[in-house]
């Protein structure tokens, strides 16, 4: 009798485990991309996944100025959010990738990040019985450079958010979805703060590169876009960062130099006060904005209202 109970239990456990495995099996390229995004198999020592730096709880950004890659090596720039990328046309702070597919593979090979040559990554995926079968099922092909990129990019394209307080107010036409402070902050954003000049669009960013005054060729010596374009006039220019979920993606700027949204607002209010010797700062920021304390507070409240409800920062 005891033996019978044991066998039945074992069979139930086996069936349960099989069901778990089946339920984990991706049924499309987005799900395969998600699996890959969270799997450290794509780093040289199998310790780092895309999600190690693009943390879901921080809107797929990181909470440190620069993220640690394999061997605890720090990257050179702040990890941008991997959310709301579907409509973007430039990727990385210097815009070195033109498509999400191109972007998706770069961190795998980057020595400061995952440090795994793509050919080795593909070998690993081919050797993995499960991954090999997933790729064959979904792409009708074994893992290749192109379908690996396609899968990760497809997952990233699912990371769109459009349910913030701001969206409730403007898209769903609910005037009480936001406070009066948010409405005032939106006015500051559009007018006195001049934020909209660069942060315009569905994700609050133009597809452009600007020099906001964080380059002085000394201690701030990342020349940004110039390395890619080869144009010295682009020295100190970086991609305009989208602002959706910005309240949970601190620290800020390409080097993570500003720790809070308050710091960011103080910086833009008078950049020369923070970095006096900046080279080629954008003419939009030539004069201090002269924001009052109330306007600064309203602007911060507005920026917080861009946080998707799935993160619900008010509960923290």
């Amino acid at each position: 009798m005891k033996k019978c109970v044991f066998i039945i239990s074992a069979v139930i456990i086996l069936l349960f485990m099989q069901a778990m495995i089946i339920s984990n099996e991706p049924s499309n390229k987005q799900e395969l991309g998600e699996l890959l995004f969270f799997d450290p198999i794509l780093s040289i020592d199998s310790t780092i996944s895309c999600a190690t730096c693009h943390k879901p709880q921080f809107a797929f950004a990181d909470s440190s100025a620069t993220s640690r890659g394999v061997g605890s090596i720090h990257g050179l720039r702040n990890t941008p959010s991997a959310m709301n990328v579907a409509m973007q046309r430039n990727f990385f702070w210097d815009g070195r990738a033109k498509t999400l597919e191109e972007q998706a593979l770069a961190p795998i090979e980057n020595p400061n990040e995952m440090n795994l040559p793509i050919c080795e990554a593909l070998q690993r995926l081919k050797k993995s019985e499960s991954y090999n079968s997933y790729f064959k099922k979904i792409f009708k092909d074994e893992p290749t450079r192109s379908n690996l990129a396609e899968a990760i990019a497809a997952f990233e394209r699912t990371l769109e958010t459009s349910n913030s307080q701001f969206d409730q107010w403007k898209f769903y036409q609910e005037p009480h979805a936001v406070s009066e402070a948010v409405k005032r902050g939106f006015m500051v954003f559009n007018n006195k703060g001049k934020c909209i000049q660069c942060h315009f669009g569905a994700n609050f960013a133009r597809d452009e590169f600007r020099n906001i005054g964080l380059f002085n060729a000394r201690e701030l010596n990342d020349s940004g876009r110039a390395v890619i374009s080869g144009d010295p006039k682009d020295a100190g220019k970086f991609k305009i960062a989208p602002l959706r979920n910005v309240a949970i993606t601190a620290p800020y700027m390409h080097n993570g130099i500003l720790k809070t949204l308050k710091d960011v607002i103080e910086f833009y209010n008078d950049p020369a006060k923070i970095v006096p010797n900046a080279i080629n700062r954008d003419s939009l920021l030539a004069k201090p904005l002269g924001l009052s304390d109330q306007e600064k507070a309203d602007l911060e409240t507005f920026l917080m209202a861009l946080t998707d409800k799935s993160f619900d920062i008010n509960k923290k």
Partner: protein, 119 residues
């Protein structure tokens, strides 16, 4: 009392004969090849909100003329623009033809957009 009744009567008649704002309501494009849906909500108070994939990106005010619309919005440095309104399909579809708009980015977007009324 008579005067009040006359005044109310005049107001009602004026309202009855006032041109109806056919724009009021939600309008959306068909999905683009990449699946993006552009839309705009024209409000009765002559404000509007533009969006892409349910993400608002522009707020503005509008004035209506004889088959024209004048807009002023948060994008394009607040530069005003005038477009001809072309309704078709029993006024359930709408497109814009630029009369004057110095903002190239907006002009390009507006002229290629065809919107359908969301019912």
């Amino acid at each position: 009392m008579k005067r009040i009744l006359v005044t109310v009567g005049i107001v009602i008649s004026l309202l009855a004969f006032a041109p109806k704002n056919k724009l009021v309501g939600r309008w959306e494009s068909k999905p683009s090849p990449k699946g993006n849906v552009t839309g705009v909500v024209f409000n009765k108070d002559y404000t509007y909100e533009g969006y892409v994939n349910k993400k608002p990106f522009v707020s503005g005010t509008y004035r209506l003329g004889h088959s024209t619309i004048t807009i002023e919005e948060t994008g394009c440095n607040g530069v005003k623009a005038v477009y001809k309104l072309i309704f078709f399909s029993h006024s359930d579809s709408l497109r814009f033809e630029a009369i004057s708009d110095s903002c190239a980015e907006r002009k390009e977007g507006m002229q290629r957009t065809i919107l359908g009324r969301v019912k």
